[in-house]
Amino acid sequence: MEAQIIKIEAAPRFHEFWRTFRKNHMGLVGLVMLAIVIFVAIFAPILSPYDPSSTHNVTTSDVYNAPSAAHWLGTDDAGQDVLTNFIFGARVSLIIGFFAAFISLIIGGVFGIVAGFYGGRTEAVLMRFTDIMLVIPDMPLMMVVIALTKPSILNIIIVIGALYWTTTARMVRSQTLAVKSRKFVLRARAIGSGKGHIIRHHILPLVLPILVVQAVLVVSSAVLAESTLSFLGLGDPTALSWGQMLNYAFGRGAMSTGAWWALVVPGFGIVWVVLGLTLLGQGLEQVLNPRLDTHHLMPGRPVVRNEAGKGVEISNEQNPLLDVQNLSVNYVNNGKPPARAVENISFTLKEGELVGLVGESGCGKTTLMLALLRLLPAAGQIVNGNVFFHDRDLTTLTDDEINAVRWKDISIVFQGAMNALNPVRTVGEQIAEAITKHLPGFPRDQRLQERVIELLDLVGIAADHRDHYPHQYSGGMRQRAMIAMALACNPQVIIADEPTTALDVMIQAQILELLDSLRKKLGLAIIFVTHDLGVVAEMCDRVLVMYGGVTAEYADVDIIYNGARHPYTQELLKAFPDLTKPKKKLSSIPGYPPRLDALPIGCRFAPRCLRAIERCHKEQPLMHKLGDAHVASCHLLEATK
């Protein structure tokens, strides 16, 4: 079982690490189990009822006695106390396990770091060697070597150590390669650091966690290996490990005499140690490489309505296509109060309109978009508001009902990152899938292919590309393919979530032109999420400026750029470069955007606002109507109506 490559974000100095680890139940249980065994092994002479080396009068009647007061776990094939042997057996098994693992880790660690860091021929040779060692069957080889040399503790340790380093070498090499390609290593080289310095200060600290996890896993493998070898009769006859105990019991009639204690007890010890180590290893891995334990298919949370914060009539629209009213979304934060990611946002969308949703990172714009189609992650919950689409409130629909609305009426174009499309299915298949899902009457024959080709053509992709896989497309092409897919069912609304953010400016221009022409041709309404104020100015009819999860300002595009009233909007415009005024000095806004789980009391922009008054820090501003279809949330605007 391979541990994942560890990308360390939070640097755990020990006490911080311990705090996180303490909360990991699996790891903690494993640690406790291991601690108990180590304790038993160290204090064996004190804990065991008998002295194992004493050969007091043992007669045949002492053989395989059932558990009794004198012998809590019975006696074995030689008449000795099983409990005593069990306790002392821990020593043998642990010693062999730890030392063998130690050897493996040294070999594997050195091979891995050297191969990963130096690359080239060194790496090729080392890795080929490792590959060969990997395919040589461990157990038969160990058996042969030990049988033909001498079954002693030292030999067993050496043999296990000499064979069990291969996985460690591969893991360490992968991690070394991963770390080596990170920018801070490049920066270290740029500073002039030598190879030794880089290995010591940059590679090792980040490879160490993987070594620790591997260490735990290798010890457990070594313990299992030793017990297997001993069971097969290749253990050290002078050292009574648990495996050796089982060997004697099995080979000397424990089964036929029904002496279950002689068979169960030593095995139990092995399971305890290995399980403890495995749990510890899993726990460590989870702490060092926290994988989000949630996924996209987890059941969503029910929509709640608490009626707080009645909104202001913001638009004179009759029958808008989409009417979002007072939408609020929280993220559950176990133990702590929920993060208020979106609070009381309202906007409308009419046919053929392009609304721009502007905000910086962490302002909640993606959350807002996901909430519209009820695509929030497991921790997200709509806690207020309605999303009216043609007078149907999407927040009240059942799963099946919302599935029918998704894509068919409203579709989404995500950032066309490599994995927004399934990498092992062709693009054409994925487009066809959308069609067959929502248009069940659509014929599944040649005409389906023709429709796919038609859609691709609409976005400027040649027909034969439909049989290609996403990784064969360039970034711009992938984005266009996603647009084609989004159009597959002739939706009325398209939500485009930062569709051009990662693309070159020329490709961005192509995509924007495409979206604009599609809008005109098909009468689409588009919600365009972005942080680029230039794109918004070029494309949008209306603009919603978000900050810290709330609406800062919402108005027609011309008003936003030439008559903005909210301090944030004004400052943001001053911070955004304008190529037609190249000598204009850019201003910045002091501080940085708030975290949604640590929002300030009062106006969310107040900490950074140069015009904040005392009231701003205490009370959240209401949405004030400033004109026809122009609202902003700022205390300073209260007087002006």
Partner: protein, 342 residues
């Protein structure tokens, strides 16, 4: 075109590794104490002439390899021995002809012995792997889908325990339970079954197979379940699953058309590798249940110092591991279009 190059590359590497293993195999049994020539002499049934005949046939009286035996730096470069007349080349020559020597113990050709036993092992592994895969994949999928619920935690714990149990011990415990409940405790079939109709014979073998297969299944099921769970969890957090959800596909459709295939990919590799390894790793189960397969063969040969058999078995296992790895690579490259074959 590129795929061919990839294939050739992988196959030639596999052949190279096999060659390496053959050479290793040869030297291993010559270097380790326990001179095969002397060991063979132990069999009291062999007459002096027979012993000599064996020695000459397998070149055991010849030097192992050019000047190797001397290992005296002075002597290097002045070898008087004809390199082709060494044990090494005789061994290689025989190997190419499919001759793996004769068992010191039973005097039967090693190839015969191995092929008999191999079948039994494959029967056992086959059944065990299939069941382990079915159960492991199913529980793994289920656990990942219901991640973080109590069902998941229970499933996870059971799998970790199964993963931690030594195979031989599980076998012993099951055997103990089975022997107290009337199950056969050793071997592959009851003596005297050959006079019964075929169907009854198979039933008998099945009864004997039950416990060892159960042991095998439990141990490997744990591993597959853990891998499947972790793999599916990864897949289900990918962006394209969100895209699929946004497309309005139902959970079942998403699992079927997008998630399972992707999640199975790592499993394919592991299964193939396991298949290769367990030809050797099945030693534990066969010893406990006295199942007459390749594992038992090794243990017996080891006890009797029957080198030709050991050598042959070892080679067979190593080659099957290498071939299994090769098949795993090729299967993976076929299933995952992202694998760069250029």
């Amino acid at each position: 075109m590129n795929r061919w190059r990839y294939l050739i590359n992988k196959i030639s590497w596999a052949l190279f590794t096999i060659l390496f293993v053959i050479i290793l195999n040869f030297f291993l049994f010559r270097i380790l104490p326990g001179d095969p020539a002397r060991a063979g002499v132990r069999d009291p049934r062999l007459t002096r002439e027979n012993i000599e005949a064996i020695r000459i046939r397998y070149g055991l009286d010849k030097p192992i390899i050019n000047c190797f035996e001397s290992l005296n730096p002075v002597k290097i470069g002045s070898c008087v021995v004809n390199p082709l007349d060494t044990q090494f080349f005789i061994y290689m020559g025989n190997l190419i002809r499919g001759d793996m020597m004769i068992s010191f113990h039973t005097n039967r050709p090693v190839t015969d012995i191995l092929s008999e036993r191999l079948g039994n092992t494959i029967l056992l592994i086959g059944a065990g792997q299939i069941l382990a895969i079915i159960f492991g994949v199913f529980f793994g999928m289920f656990s990942a889908w219901k991640a973080r619920t109590s069902l998941d935690y229970a499933s996870l714990t059971l799998s970790l325990v199964a993963w931690s149990i030594p195979t031989f011990w599980l076998g012993v415990i099951l055997l103990f339970w089975g022997s107290n409940n009337g199950m056969p405790i050793a071997g592959m079939s009851t003596p005297g079954m050959s006079s019964y109709p075929l169907f009854a014979q198979w039933g008998d073998i099945a009864r004997h197979m039950f416990l060892p297969t159960l042991t095998y299944t439990i141990v490997y099921m744990g591993e597959y379940m853990l891998i499947m769970r972790s793999s599916l969890l990864d897949v289900l957090s990918e962006d394209y699953i969100l895209t699929a959800k946004a497309k309005g596909l139902s959970v079942f459709q998403i699992l079927k058309d997008h998630a399972i295939k992707n999640a199975m990919l790592p499993l394919v590799t592991i299964i193939a590798i396991n298949l290769g390894f367990t030809v050797g790793g099945v030693v534990q189960i066969e010893t406990v249940f006295s199942w007459p397969g390749l594992g038992m063969t090794i243990v017996e040969a080891l006890n009797r110092r029957d080198f030709p058999v050991l050598q042959g078995a070892f080679l067979l296992i190593a080659v099957s591991v290498i071939v299994a790895n090769l098949l795993a690579d090729l299967a993976y490259s076929y299933l995952d279009p992202r694998v760069k074959t250029e």
